[in-house]
Symmetry: C2
Subunit: 291 residues, 2 copies
């Protein structure tokens, strides 16, 4: 079960590769694995309410061109069994359980939004497991969030084709048109799509994210415990988790670089996917720099 099938991996994409399953201690995890069989795998940690199919194929497939990339559903999400916990610490334990189940001893992490909080928690506790860390559209413990307000606004826009359009993109024409292109890309896969488990996932996840931001960490203990190289990314106009969070993380991490993108919201990595992939590749391929 811990050995991965490497057949026809080169041709596989997020839209075409079959969903796989692996037994962990806390859950049976659904995942997809792309890219070459060698190299440090990049494990993706998903945003609030998202499952495997909420990742942008333009980002995932491009990253998988030169490294193994693994997207998965954490406990309770999509087609993974188990319960979605209501706190970041337990989500981090479940994610580590998944990584261990695959027999991986060294990974890179890309955490987006809530997934970025989980990624910080994992990196701060597992110095040997995590090689490098990418934090996108996220907040430090005690950071600034406007989750409920922004969600309420987004879901009140009943004419929007998808709540992710107002949530992830700005109101400018170029951002909005990037958003429509993104939504289209996420809907290409027709069969073997992931499930949306509704409030059973979003209620505990919202509590986890809000609690993370409401818990003061005045000395930035979590950030200071992260010794790995970190790439911090945010959109200029992220309404849910503002870019100030990214600047705070950059300043208090021991070895971080910061990339902020123009005219973009929470989904900056999908809007500016070519730039984002280029930055991630440059970051992950760089020789280790001083911690």
């Amino acid at each position: 079960m811990t050995l991965l099938d490497t057949a026809s991996r080169d041709a596989a994409t997020l839209e075409t590769t079959p969903t796989r399953y692996i037994e962990g201690r806390a859950a049976r995890f659904a995942y997809r694995r792309l890219g070459p069989s060698t190299g440090t795998p990049l494990v993706l940690l998903q945003h609030f309410s998202g499952n495997i199919d909420a990742w942008d194929p333009a980002v995932v497939n491009a990253l998988a061109a030169d490294r193994p990339v693994i997207a998965f559903d954490n406990a309770g999400v999509g087609r993974s069994t188990g319960q979605t916990p209501d706190n970041v610490e337990a989500m981090a334990r479940d994610a580590v359980d998944f990584i261990n189940s695959l027999g991986l001893s060294k990974v890179d992490l890309l955490g987006f939004s809530l997934g970025g909080c989980v990624a910080q928690q994992i990196a701060s506790e597992h110095g040997a497991l995590v090689r490098k860390l990418i934090l996108v559209g996220t907040a430090p413990k005690g950071g600034e969030e406007h989750l409920l307000m922004v969600l309420q606004q987004a879901f009140s826009q009943t004419d929007a084709p998808d709540p992710r359009l107002p949530l992830f993109f700005t109101t400018s024409d170029p951002s909005r048109s990037s958003g429509l292109a993104f939504l289209k890309r996420t809907k290409v896969r027709k069969d073997d799509r992931d499930t949306d488990n509704g409030n059973a996932v979003t209620d505990p996840q919202a509590k986890a994210l809000i609690t993370w931001c409401a818990t003061p960490d005045p000395d930035h203990e979590i950030l200071r415990a992260i010794r790995q190289p970190v790439l911090v990314v945010s959109g200029s106009h992220d309404t849910m988790l503002p870019a100030d969070n990214a600047y705070v993380m950059f300043k208090h991490l021991s070895n971080a670089q910061l990339a902020l993108y123009p005219d973009s919201g929470h989904g900056a990595l999908f809007q500016h996917h070519e730039m984002f992939v280029s930055h991630v590749r440059t970051f992950l391929d760089a020789e280790a720099i001083a911690a």
Copy 2:
């Protein structure tokens, strides 16, 4: 005089290519031109006290691999004639005079430190001339500077092999060792080196930089007048022009991306030269995004 010799340009480097001269209205300008003969030229605007030979060959040669790159001495600097003005506005006029003399109607600008102030001034006034803008280790008008204090400290370190070591790099071992490698690279060229004109350059330049930062621009009129795409870069621990300046510029420019680098000072672009070149290339090669 306005047509450039393209012979053996591919093989040329900053260290080997001959210095050329061109008559402008305000001065006879010294310059070096590298890279292919086609494509939008990238014009480099140098830091306080620097001449053509103060650029890092690792940065300039790598950028010239796929675009024309032009380094020059502004009026009064190095082997350019004329007088170094004591204000950014006049430096911008001289730089535009140089660009016009070469017959160039569209350029990209890379401005470092004082050169970044000059670049902002040019871009704000010449929307048609400047395609894209890269601002490194610089400040907006009214920004924060600690020039005199930091210079005084640097020049009091009589055991430093070069004042640029404490000025451009941090005290960490990796940064310091990057600094020594940088200094070595800038000293490879032996013949046809540029001159250092001492106080005739540094006195008016210091006044220009300090005045730029001491002149309030509470509504960020200069930044708001810049409609081009901008890449803003700074080191995490720039002591002369702190990274907060970069974050302010990013927030008030209409179309900017920000890149901040770890464990680095004013010379972040030289310390992290591979990353910097990769970011610049991605930025300059990107399709135009919304202004």
